[in-house]
Subunit: 756 residues, 2 copies
Amino acid sequence: MFAIAPATGKANLSAGQLKLLSGKARWIFRVGEAGFPTVPTIAITRAAWEELQAERGRRDTRLRTHWVACLFKLVSKDGTPPLLVVRTSAATHNSGLAPAKLGIAAPAAPEDAVDPARPLAKAIKQAFESYGFFGRGWTGLRHEDDRARQIVLVQAVGHGSVEQFLTRNAMTGQLGPAPLDGTPLPRLPADVHKLIDLLDAKAGRHMACLVSIDGGRVTFLSARPVQASAGAELEAAVDRVERKVWTPQGAVTRVDPSRLALMLHPRLKSPEEATPIARGLGVSPGAASGIITFNPDDAARLRARGKHCILVVNETGPADIEGMKAATGILTARGGMSSHAGVIARITGKPCVAGVRSLSVDAGEMVCRIGDREFRPGDRLTIDGTDGSVYLGTLPLAQPQIGGAIGKLLGWSDASRTVAVRTNVETVESAQTALTFGAEGIGLARSEHMFFSPERMVALRRMILSEDEDQRARALAGLVDYQTGDYSALFSAMKGLPVTVRLFDPPLHEFLPRTDEEIEETAASLGVAVRALRLRLERISEITPMLGHRGVRLAITYPEILQMQMQAVLAGARAASERQAEPVIVEVMVPFVSTATEVAWIRERALGMVENSGLARSDRVRFSFGTMIELPRACLRAGDIAGMVDFISFGTNDLTQTTFGISRDDAPVFLAAYQRKGVYERDPFVTIDEKGVGEMIAIAIARGKAANPDLKIGICGEHAGDPASLQFFAGLGVDYVSCSPYRVPVARLTLAQASA
Amino acid sequence: MFAIAPATGKANLSAGQLKLLSGKARWIFRVGEAGFPTVPTIAITRAAWEELQAERGRRDTRLRTHWVACLFKLVSKDGTPPLLVVRTSAATHNSGLAPAKLGIAAPAAPEDAVDPARPLAKAIKQAFESYGFFGRGWTGLRHEDDRARQIVLVQAVGHGSVEQFLTRNAMTGQLGPAPLDGTPLPRLPADVHKLIDLLDAKAGRHMACLVSIDGGRVTFLSARPVQASAGAELEAAVDRVERKVWTPQGAVTRVDPSRLALMLHPRLKSPEEATPIARGLGVSPGAASGIITFNPDDAARLRARGKHCILVVNETGPADIEGMKAATGILTARGGMSSHAGVIARITGKPCVAGVRSLSVDAGEMVCRIGDREFRPGDRLTIDGTDGSVYLGTLPLAQPQIGGAIGKLLGWSDASRTVAVRTNVETVESAQTALTFGAEGIGLARSEHMFFSPERMVALRRMILSEDEDQRARALAGLVDYQTGDYSALFSAMKGLPVTVRLFDPPLHEFLPRTDEEIEETAASLGVAVRALRLRLERISEITPMLGHRGVRLAITYPEILQMQMQAVLAGARAASERQAEPVIVEVMVPFVSTATEVAWIRERALGMVENSGLARSDRVRFSFGTMIELPRACLRAGDIAGMVDFISFGTNDLTQTTFGISRDDAPVFLAAYQRKGVYERDPFVTIDEKGVGEMIAIAIARGKAANPDLKIGICGEHAGDPASLQFFAGLGVDYVSCSPYRVPVARLTLAQASA
């Protein structure tokens, strides 16, 4: 029990008391201490309050005397005891907390100050009770300690009118009084700016401020932080640097990278060329395309399989949050800006169109109607959460631009960052997007993605379905030219930055024709009988393709594939090199190795081809050879592998799958239950599992570096875009990470924080 | 160059010379040294021979003088220079070696003894050349050294008739002269028994012996070991113990456990009740049933999927060996006892019927005919390689019995063994088989195998396809009774030995109906519409079931399954306990865990049920709780897990799959290429990969024991039946291994050798 803003004089808190200042108490003390008129306020901890009550039971009064003396600090020089206000002051907001209790008469006698039947003590008791109890568990003791330190504030009532406002605009981040919760901004005297500057500098966050205004004078009552939009927070951070409240590095340290990710929305490339089939409210910005799903569980399954989907529902509720996170966009028939869908969509950064009146959803029958059109699961829609439009099919999207406040912050962040940030792309268009986001190279070009067009697929299938080496070599010859052009363009687009080409990785199984129609088409294009093709397919098909004939296993069993790929990469490098002044830095990476012998086998052949490639010596010298480490055995044998490679790059997706024995595709079904039951704290496919997968990586780095001190270390799984995982990787001393283009800014900021 | 059996006197070899005695040279020296009449013999190393030739180039004669002196040791007291024989003496037999060159005149002059144009030196040169060159590689230097130590023998020609015989019968192992390669046994003088006793004791193997017989006197010329049948080797080993040539422990150490495995053939249970559809030659004993395949590759794939198959071909060749190893039995249209199929089948212990004249195979059209019946892949046959019969369909087989020589040897082996041997079974019949093989408990009862009957499958599917917890609980209730009876019978069958029940493990996916017919049947039995069932199936089906919703994940997401299983196990234990005097030792094991939290979750519930089970306190005390360790993460976190369990048991199949990232089902396609190209030396699913999977196991044991010194360690993957792997496990200090019933004798012998 102590005054944090006495009616007269300074608070003069001890170090122990300063530590107790959580929640509002902190801001009241800080503002008062800085000399801004602040309503007299005292604080009492639960420990002190409980001791007061115990003393009362013992009919003792020593502590009560001290408490009464404390209450006297609320009395101004004129000596009139004020009416009192009792407030909670929790560190984090909690909707169960008691609201401020106003207009309590000052106790008439010392006994009244501690008697829970009297108004003041009653209000204090209720305030403490509203904190509730923390759950028990491993951290029970710590919680017990925290509980004793909870505080309740007793303030004098402010004179005049009580007003609320924000210190910065919630949408734009601009400094100055701004309306709170949609209520109109009151007229405020000029000296409120002094308070706002003070609080903004002290708190470094958007604050909701409570003041009393009496005769043109502002008295500070209380303040609490509020969550602004990610954009507003970022603008505010940059503004604070420009006002010299923060240093650039201070801004870099304080912006939450996961909030940054929310700002990087795609938008429609040419909205003027498309006609919406419906309109609703744009309640969360950004555009999204995908297949329709009516069920949040299905959204999770689709996402796990790498599919974009639009969750179409009448309205959402708390049970749907996981599904909403999994969906690429959300479309609802009912609700508006403050609907559950809108709120959650904005928090999670998902584009959302709400309240589309022409939409009706029958989830049981798995059908929805927009006007007189009928849609079923698998049909495609595009939504624009910025203006509320809904379009038929998949429209082309443009990627967000980096500029303004984001650009400034990322520029500052690069100054302290020591880990390079690359990107996972394989097309020139994505490469250009990634460059605008600040990517410093390509860390993972998945060569198989280059076959995702119908004519190339036919060529690829011809290769896969070859009965012997000759047939396969002929089929492959047809693929070299395509690939050469692709690689040459990609190398040129990257303008002298390194490009890591991962050799063909996926199970051949994935490229096989499946439906009757595809099988007939393929048989015709290959000139074989449908029955013969079916027999061949039956023999090739795998039970567990994910752990099957893929990665380095393809290159060793069919060396022609390796040869074709290397030929195309090297011819592409030669072409790019002849065309441009910048060097071409090619890194070839072998996927899915489990033994050093596999690496040696590929290395011998690949380096032989480089030697005979006709590339200039300077380009050959720059060529480097490495391997992905994505299997537990490769981690253990990293010492053997390291001697044969220039770099290793961890494929954390596959490494998580094999270390945990969990298929990411199938995990949503039980991971949801696991998180609900507290078996897993986090989804290991989102945030790296430090104690398991992380130890695997640490073992591999230690053994690899011991065998080859020059070994370069990269990370190229999706975890390379997750802030918590990036912090961990930075601690392991990796040289670079490689993530999807959108995640490049997040990685730049997080790694700057990790290096700070 | 030195005499190993001089015409007069003793050989008196130096320690260095003794080391050079490889191949026949060793037996000639040993027999001569023991005083048995032996034809005069000298040996020359390649190093010495090459030095002799180099000296000749330098026109020097120092070494030649020594060589000529050596040759004089072949001359008997009467001084007549004998005709000579030149023989190779390789450590291991090689079909490219030069045959013995007979009747060479002794050199007339010292120059002739080294001149390759003259008969003696020419024969020596040819003999060395026939050794050929070893391949180069990592071990090149060692090979170079070995090459210099190769030796060639020069012998005097024996007088009288030259005869060959075996020291023991190749089929029965009985001591005494026996026919070699089907040639009739010559008449031999009585003192040949002295030679045979001598050689059998010195070599400890079946030996092919070459002697000359002149006037009823036997002179030893040469001997080489021959491979006898596994049964004959075993009988011989036991016979040597009974003759006090070996100690019992000596016999245990010397018998190759993988040869022991070959003797444990199944046989037809009731051959008198079946009529063969064809007869051929029984060229490799034992009976086998399985589906027909015409292609060795398919045999490998089927085996990987746990299917038995009969490889049906016109004849086999060297390219088919892998497929033959994978097949359960082999049936050929052509060939006989000494055909490729027969030889390989006997070596690999596969039942084989060869030369079935009524069989014709058209592998291209994937069809075969036996008489006028037509068979296609998937049809079933049974063959009996003991008498050459071929039967339609799958006939019941009886398991081999342990007795006679095997029984004696295993009895001796148990004396020195320190690691317990359990078995992987779940039926009373298999348990009884395993007990006759000496199993000391059940280390793995796969509870899901108890559902492999049509009526239980319906009940199980009803459970899997339940839409909610209530439905699922009702479906499960119907399963408790079945399981209780099963467990009670199993516990009783094991008569006081421990039984480890693994909780339900497989992906539910595996139990779903697949064909249209099954789906219609299931829909009818569940009383739901076919369309609704298809929708539900679509939602449940998994992409990678092997890493999907299985193992502990089932128990946590559907605690009703755990409850049903524990109820059945405990009720079974109660029933068995009431019926018998022996204690019931139940161990419950949780499969597929990756975190300690999962173990804690199950432990709390399982132990709670044990407390309330109504079991006697003595039985409750004996109850133990453990977990399988079959994922890399579980190995790393074994320290956390160990504190919560009484035992851990390594599932080496799954651990190999996840550590290597290789699906065993799909591996044959590329593993064959990998072994051909020398990328893998061994199939990691047959012999444990010590450097990867082995390190994982070692890490887990070290961390587990550090956290819980009383932790019991088991191994229950298929590697627990492989001799090389068992040696490795014994070195890690495991407490028990658990393998399939047939493999129990192999494990008993191997672990006795490992403890010796």
